[in-house]
């Protein structure tokens, strides 16, 4: 893969097929000084055996041979998906138009007339090798593209599965655990009101109630961390809440502008919200900012979220792996929905993250 089509260190393997030894020797003699690895076969059948065992990079093939002739060999090689890309040069008699037509329709790539001219042979061999390596590169690039597309689909699928799972667990934790604990606490309050005003029992009930309280807080925190219920009220509501929470936690002063109440599908608002959270996390961890601005806006057919901080910024070319993976994750989330995340930053200049997704 790393050798370029013309790279001299890649030794091309060439198979020479001719029933007559002197012809084979002539061709070998011409190609030897060019540095190719040469192999010979004295019949069509032998040629096919070699091709099956170790496919060469190019085949020089005589048309007229006893038993299997050149056309049949071409047909057999071109019919096999594993070998059909090996370029074949047919050696025909001079001016034999008929033979050329037959060879062409069988699938051969090129022709050489006997007696073979050394210079012409070498040029044609080199050209064909270059073409076929370019074709190989194109093919492998296509495969690479296809596999990265598959990976992207897989990543998208995993993301959505994860979000669904988070939403479900968050709801279950909140509903099942949270409500049962709330009822428990109400009963404790009811009991407390019926206890003698001082005594060990009352103390015990009070401390149990405090314990229930702290469990309720934990359950609520876990449920919110998994997925804040406020997202059900829309992206704008969730952004507004998250900013307040962020401001209180980080001490970074935020200005929020929610210029649209555009309602988007749940997976879209979730994606934008996660990008937003990731951005805020980056600001808190790396930016050393004192202020941030958040704008949610509808522009043309896009829902745009912009987050800007006045922090130290970063050099986009040199970032840690974990940070660049985080940014990649944000970009992927937007890309899945046909949108994009742009980050503009420079050392000392703050950072602006603009995320958008198309809306109908």
């Amino acid at each position: 893969m790393d050798a370029s089509p013309d790279s001299p260190d890649h030794q091309a393997r060439i198979l020479i097929v001719d029933d007559k030894l002197p012809n084979r020797l002539v061709l070998e003699g011409m190609l030897q000084p060019e540095g190719f690895l040469l192999q010979s076969a004295a019949s069509g059948k032998e040629a096919l055996d070699i091709v099956a065992q170790q496919p060469p990079d190019l085949i020089l093939l005589d048309v007229v041979m006893p038993g299997m002739d050149g056309y049949q060999v071409v047909g057999a090689i071109k019919d096999n998906p594993a070998t059909k890309n090996i370029p074949i040069i047919l050696i025909t008699a001079l001016d034999d138009r008929n033979a050329r037509m037959l060879g062409l329709s069988a699938g051969a790539e090129d022709f050489l007339a006997k007696p073979v001219d050394r210079a012409e042979l070498c040029v044609r061999v080199r050209n064909l090798l270059r073409l076929s390596r370019t074709a190989e590169l194109i093919e492998s690039e296509r495969l690479l593209r296809a596999s990265s597309e598959q990976l992207r689909l897989l990543a998208a699928h995993l993301l959505s599965v994860r979000e669904e799972e988070r939403a479900r667990i968050s709801r279950e934790v909140h509903d099942e655990l949270g409500q049962a604990l709330t009822a428990l606490k109400m009963d404790l309050a009811w009991l407390e009101a019926r206890m003698p005003k001082n005594g060990e029992m009352l103390e015990r009930i009070r401390s149990t109630r405090q314990l229930a309280d702290s469990i309720i807080q934990s359950v609520r925190r876990i449920s919110t961390e998994l997925r804040p219920a406020v997202l059900d009220l829309g992206l704008a509501a969730a952004v507004e809440w998250q900013v307040q929470e962020f401001q209180a936690r980080s001490g970074i002063q935020c200005t929020v502008r929610l210029l649209t109440r555009e309602v988007v599908a749940a997976n879209e608002s979730t994606a934008m919200f996660r990008i937003f959270q990731e951005t805020l996390t980056n600001i808190a961890r790396h930016a050393e900012a004192t202020r941030a601005e958040v704008v949610l806006q509808k522009q043309r057919d896009r829902l745009v979220l912009m987050i800007r901080d006045n922090g130290r910024g970063f050099d986009q070319a040199h970032q840690s792996l974990s940070k660049s993976l985080g940014l990649l994750g944000m970009r992927e989330r937007a890309a899945i929905l046909g949108g994009r995340v742009d980050i503009s930053s420079a050392t000392g200049k703050g950072t602006t993250v603009t995320a958008w997704i198309p809306i109908p």
Binding site: H174, D175, G178, Q179, A180, L181, T182, A183, K185, M186, D187, A189, W190, A193, A212, D213, I216, R220, T224, P228, A229, V230, D232, L233, A237, W241, Q244, E245, A248, Q253, T255, R257, L258, L259, R291, E293, V295, Q297, Q299, V304, M306, R308, S344, G350, T352, T354, W356
Partner: protein, 210 residues
């Protein structure tokens, strides 16, 4: 005799509330509903003095129900009780017309206090929430010029920065050309620039172009 309607999809929570409230409001009549539909039925069939409303329920959410109740029974005091932290829902719930917002595990004394207050026509927020609301009023730090723009002015500014004309922006925002021109004039003043081209420059310099 006070009549209290409790709307919550969890039977254990309804029972808990009922037993707590019967201590404070002796002889009160209680009604229960497990979802928005049952709640509407109860509201149509009987007269209530106050409704306690859960915010997250299967089917129609409490917030939607609240909006409907506000339309049909605007005088009915509604106290929203939620399992969610106040900071996520309280302001929205109050804006939608609720008389108060409490988390479900609030102390019974607070619950009673809240009900008394909204029955008297007032509004109730917990001390913790009141403090949070007070804090969220922005401390006035030195702001960049564009941060002093109102939301509408900012919107107009960023559209000018995106190369739109006043007429185009008027179309996009469904406002008159005259109104947009007024916003533009204020944007020019606040940013301290002379014309639209300088607005564009300002936006580029400050990374505001989308």
């Amino acid at each position: 005799m006070i009549r209290i309607l409790i709307v919550d999809d969890h039977a254990i929570v309804r029972r808990g509330l009922r037993s707590l409230l019967s201590d404070e409001f002796q002889g009160a009549t209680f009604g229960e509903a497990a979802d928005a539909q049952q709640a509407m039925q109860q509201l149509r069939d009987h007269k209530w003095d106050v409704a306690l409303l859960d915010i997250t329920m299967p089917g129609k959410s409490g917030l939607e129900l609240l909006k409907e109740v506000e339309v049909e029974w605007p005088k009915l005091p509604v106290l929203v009780l939620s399992g969610h932290a106040e900071d996520q829902f309280a302001v929205r719930v109050l804006k939608a017309g609720a008389g108060g917002y409490l988390t479900k595990e609030s102390a019974p004394e607070e619950l009673a206090k809240a009900i008394h207050k909204i029955l008297a026509g007032g509004r109730y927020v917990s001390p913790a929430l009141a403090e949070k609301l007070a804090l969220s009023v922005n401390k006035d730090v030195t702001r960049t010029p564009h941060e002093t723009l109102s939301d509408r002015e900012y919107d107009v500014m960023s559209r000018i920065a995106a190369g739109k004309t006043v007429t185009e922006i008027a179309g996009e925002l469904a406002l008159s050309v005259k109104t947009i021109s007024t916003y533009r004039t204020r944007v020019l003043e606040k940013l301290g620039v002379k014309n639209s081209a300088e607005i564009v420059q300002y936006a580029i310099r400050n990374d505001l172009v989308i």
